[in-house]
């Protein structure tokens, strides 16, 4: 792959005071593409996302290589990291009910990203913010700009979140379960907006999710994680040809409309998988 | 009878032991426990610890500085300050004990009845509680003492009268959570009267948190009692109450610092001990904190 945005080689993360690594020997590269990371809760997928942004104060992060464009993420100072976060790499969090500041106006929170990274005036920031709110298909940006988070719906909240994180035009966006907290009816809508923006702007996307179906539809490649390790990496198209029994188990556990009504397969979890992916 | 299983009995004891070990692990609450044990031991063995008769005047030793047979010096009548402090520990403990047995039952009765019966009674009782709560405790106790006449007993009554509302609030809140429980409903279906349910089923459940809250309040009680003594509205001379000792020592404080310094330090130590202990108890009983350590 020429000019990868992100190169990760043998990433290990251990929380302070924990007996074992939460994430072990995770390696992947990312170009201007959409990569999915799938796993059960506790598999370490969110931890990987936060480690890339260096937002794990209570954990030890080690890796052979952790390169983001021209930067070595492992050796950046906190001051340098402040210029990366939000500007070149950002993250969409799960639930807008909690991830938006409840007592600041929505527009103010979005504009903060811009004001933090660019020398713009408040009025310019407002114009840019309104444009961005329109870009995430908020119909009446002027009105929403002055609302508080509790006054907007979850779907709209997540669109605000996307606007906030894409406003400074980053090169990489990590979406950590971006639609899990939303109503099923608006999930697709929000994902389409995110997908459209990422494609148009040529942004690298890491989509962290437990939802295999969602990831295979919206990503180019998929990493399957189990107990802190990557057990298999696949092209989304080839999902049905998965080799690893865990991936196959995950696929078999998906209900299908019009499929057989027999009880779904129970997911098989074997301790030896924790070891084998090491090679 | 409310049939409590026999295995229930050791549970509170076990909990008490767990709490105690937790408290001893933190240096600050261990300090609190230490000071309080010293206070209790001092009060218990006052006649043996005191070097002098706390009331014996010795006009040859008036305002004598610390040392020279008087560990903490002598006061304006030549009485030994150390011995007076030792005997004063008894007064402090008496205040704590009496206030607890006034405040605990009043708070418990008002809180549980009000919480269990609900409705009008609840509204009226909580209004009354609110009225008492709308004063700072020292000022209301001042007013009560003024009405009852200044003396140690009246000071204790006055403090008791002002310290129950928070306890009642707490007991009410606890009762509200138990009121809907199945075992209360079961007792009611068996035909138990409200009085019986409150006394036999609800009060025992509220007791632990009430006891803890009482401990938390003790620092305030001690400071209020000392304040009343200082204003001449609590213990009267020649009783060796610490606050009153400061009040009489005040006249001589510029030249004879020891008259006010040692009683004040004693008050500070005891109220600090209760505060540290209360702080530790709060942590010990906070389940989130428990798991972390």
């Amino acid at each position: 792959m020429e000019n990868p945005i992100l190169e990760v080689k043998n990433l290990c993360i251990r929380y302070n005071g924990a007996p074992t690594d939460a994430v072990r020997d995770v390696s992947f590269t990312l170009g201007r593409e959409r990569l999915g990371i799938v796993g059960e809760s506790g598999s370490g997928k969110s931890t990987v996302g936060r480690a890339l942004l260096r937002l794990l104060p209570s954990a030890q992060v080690t890796a052979e290589k952790l390169r983001f464009e021209d930067l070595d993420l492992l050796n950046l100072s906190e001051a340098q990291m402040l210029k990366v976060r939000g500007r070149r790499m950002s993250m969409i969090l799960q639930d807008p009910k909690f991830s938006l500041n409840p007592i600041q106006r929505v527009g103010h929170q979005v504009a903060e990203t811009l004001l933090r990274h660019f020398p713009v005036s408040k009025s310019d920031a407002r114009v840019k913010t309104l444009e961005m709110l329109a870009a995430v298909k908020i119909r009446d940006p002027e009105r929403v700009h002055d609302l508080y988070p509790h006054e907007i719906s979850g779907g709209m909240g997540q669109r605000v979140m996307i606007a906030m994180m894409l406003l400074a035009d980053p090169d990489l966006v990590i979406a950590d379960e971006p639609t899990s907290a939303l109503d099923v009816t608006v999930r697709l809508q929000v994902l389409n907006i995110l997908d459209g923006l990422v494609r148009d702007r040529g942004i690298g996307l890491i989509m962290i999710s437990h939802d295999l179906n969602l990831v295979r539809n919206f990503c180019d490649r998929v990493l399957i994680m189990y107990a802190g390790r990557v057990v298999e990496t696949l092209n989304a198209r080839d999902m049905d040809h998965a080799q690893h029994p865990y991936t196959r188990g995950l696929l078999a556990a998906q209900p299908r409309i019009g499929g057989s009504r027999a009880p779904l397969a129970v997911l098989d979890r074997r301790p030896e998988w924790k070891e084998e992916a090491r090679t | 009878m409310t049939a409590l299983p026999a295995s229930r009995l050791p549970a509170p004891l076990l909990a008490a032991r767990n709490i105690l070990t937790f408290l001893l692990r933190s240096p600050t609450s261990a300090f609190g426990l230490l000071v309080l044990s010293i206070l209790i031991l001092t009060a218990a063995f006052a006649p043996w610890i005191a070097t002098h008769d706390p009331y014996a005047q010795d006009l040859n030793n008036v305002l004598q500085a610390p040392g020279n047979g008087h560990l903490f010096g002598a006061d304006e009548l030549g009485r030994d300050i150390f011995s007076r402090l030792v005997w004063g520990a008894r007064i402090t403990l008496t205040i704590i004990f009496l206030v607890s047995i006034v405040v605990g039952p009043i708070g418990l009765i008002v809180g549980t009845t009000s919480g269990y019966l609900g409705g009008r009674i609840d509204t009226v009782m909580m209004r009354i509680t609110d009225i008492f709560l709308s004063f700072p405790s020292l000022i209301l106790s001042l007013a009560f003492v003024a009405a009852l006449g200044p003396s140690l007993n009246n000071a204790i009554i006055a403090i008791g009268l002002t310290a129950w509302p928070p306890i009642a609030r707490l007991a009410r809140a606890e009762t509200m959570t138990f009121r809907k429980a199945d075992y209360i409903a079961a007792a009611r279906l068996q035909g138990a009267s409200p009085l019986r349910i409150i006394v036999k089923s609800i009060m025992p459940m509220c007791l632990p948190s009430v006891l803890i809250r009482l401990t938390l309040n003790m620092a305030t009680v001690i400071l209020t009692a000392a304040g009343l003594g200082f204003l001449g509205l609590g213990a009267q001379p020649p009783l060796p109450e610490w606050g009153a000792m400061i009040a009489t020592g005040r006249r001589y404080m510029i030249d004879s610092w020891w008259l006010v310094t040692f009683p004040g330090l004693s008050i500070l130590c005891v109220s600090l001990a209760f505060n540290l202990l209360g702080d530790g108890l709060r942590d010990a009983l906070d389940p989130k904190q428990m798991n972390r350590r």
Binding site: - | A143, G243, N275
Partner: protein, 340 residues
């Protein structure tokens, strides 16, 4: 429409609650007043008055009427603004109290500034460093302030800073030398001395104010510190703090702009309540520092058993407390967008 009606009903309900509380307050002060051992008639007519005169005054005061009637009379008097006459000064009680109040307000205001100025940064520091040494240090420091008998600390401070070091003024609001030099305009000495252009008096007043205000402030900072810490801990654990970090804000910026920004309303309400609590400390500290304020007025009258004055003082404290509670409630509703 129905919402505004509901609001109206809520407001009426609240007004009713306040009215009931105030009535209870009056009943309480009435009971306290009637229980006081001092004989109000003797206090007026003196020890040597004849039984006839005694009887006459007894009836004048309405003490021969049944208690409920006396209470109604008291209620009527209070509602018409008549709080009775002070036996000690011979002036209407309310006049006396209005005269001493500014001294206490001056003291309490400075104290709360010190208390908040100390308590809020300490609380934030403790929360940010939870369970590390700054947290423990702050905890002990603030518990210490909460545990000290303030009348005693006041004396020790006087011995050290006034008698030995001579850094501050001693008792009273200003040096004896300046008393009467500044005309009483507002009652607030700092303001009056500035109006009169007497900088020496102003300096003396500050010099006398600083020690009692600092002690009161320190004792009230314990409460403010504890509340600030727990409010901050609530906020620091929230997910939006991560969002702010992801946007590229430094830890410091997220703490002050987001977490602290969000607790400002709560802090204001806490400070309002702490201000009321200062009245308690004021009673003791005013006695130690011979500060001619409300607290000293109350204790003086308590000791001689001046019934009208005591009843009114207690009543006023109660009303101030209720008012502060209401105010903090109101501030919360006005400034927290979520309550709208």
């Amino acid at each position: 429409m129905s919402i505004s009606r509901m609001r109206l009903r809520g407001a009426l309900g609240q007004a009713g609650t306040i009215a009931v509380t105030l009535l209870g307050l009056l009943l309480l002060t009435f009971v306290i007043g009637r229980m006081m051992p001092a004989d109000p008639v003797r206090a007026i007519v003196g020890e040597e008055a004849s039984p006839e005169i005694y009887q006459q005054v007894f009836q004048q005061l309405g003490l021969d009427r049944p208690l409920w009637e006396q209470f109604l009379r008291y209620l009527g008097d209070v509602l018409t603004g008549d709080f009775g006459t002070s036996i000690r000064t011979g002036k209407p009680v309310i006049e006396d109290i209005l005269h001493v109040m500014p001294a206490t307000i001056e003291l309490a205001t400075f104290a709360i500034l010190i208390g908040a100025g100390l308590g809020i940064p300490l609380g934030v520091t403790a929360a940010v460093n939870k369970d590390r040494w700054p947290d423990h240090l702050v905890r002990v420091f603030s518990l210490f302030g909460h545990s000290m008998p303030i009348f005693w600390t006041g004396m020790i401070a006087l011995i050290v800073f006034y008698a030995h070091l001579g850094w501050v003024g001693g008792s009273g609001r200003m040096s004896q030398f300046y008393i009467g030099m500044v005309p009483d305009v507002t009652g607030f000495l700092l303001i009056d001395s500035l109006i009169a252009g007497e900088m020496d008096v102003f300096a003396s007043a500050v010099n006398h104010l600083i020690l009692p205000a600092a002690l009161l402030g320190y004792s009230s900072s314990a409460y403010i510190t504890r509340m600030t810490r727990s409010f901050m801990l609530d906020q620091l654990g929230q997910e939006y703090m991560v969002t702010a970090r992801v946007k590229g804000l430094s830890r410091r910026q997220t703490i002050w702009r987001h977490a602290f920004g969000n607790i400002r309303v709560q802090l204001v309400t806490i400070i309002a309540l702490a201000y009321g609590g200062l009245l308690e400390g004021a009673v003791l500290i005013e006695t130690v520092f011979a500060w001619p304020g409300f607290g000293q007025y109350l204790t003086n009258n308590l000791i001689i058993g001046d019934m009208n004055a005591v009843m009114t003082c207690v009543l006023i404290v109660g009303v101030i407390f209720i008012a502060l509670n209401l105010l903090s409630d109101l501030l919360y509703r006005l400034f927290d967008p979520r309550t709208k």
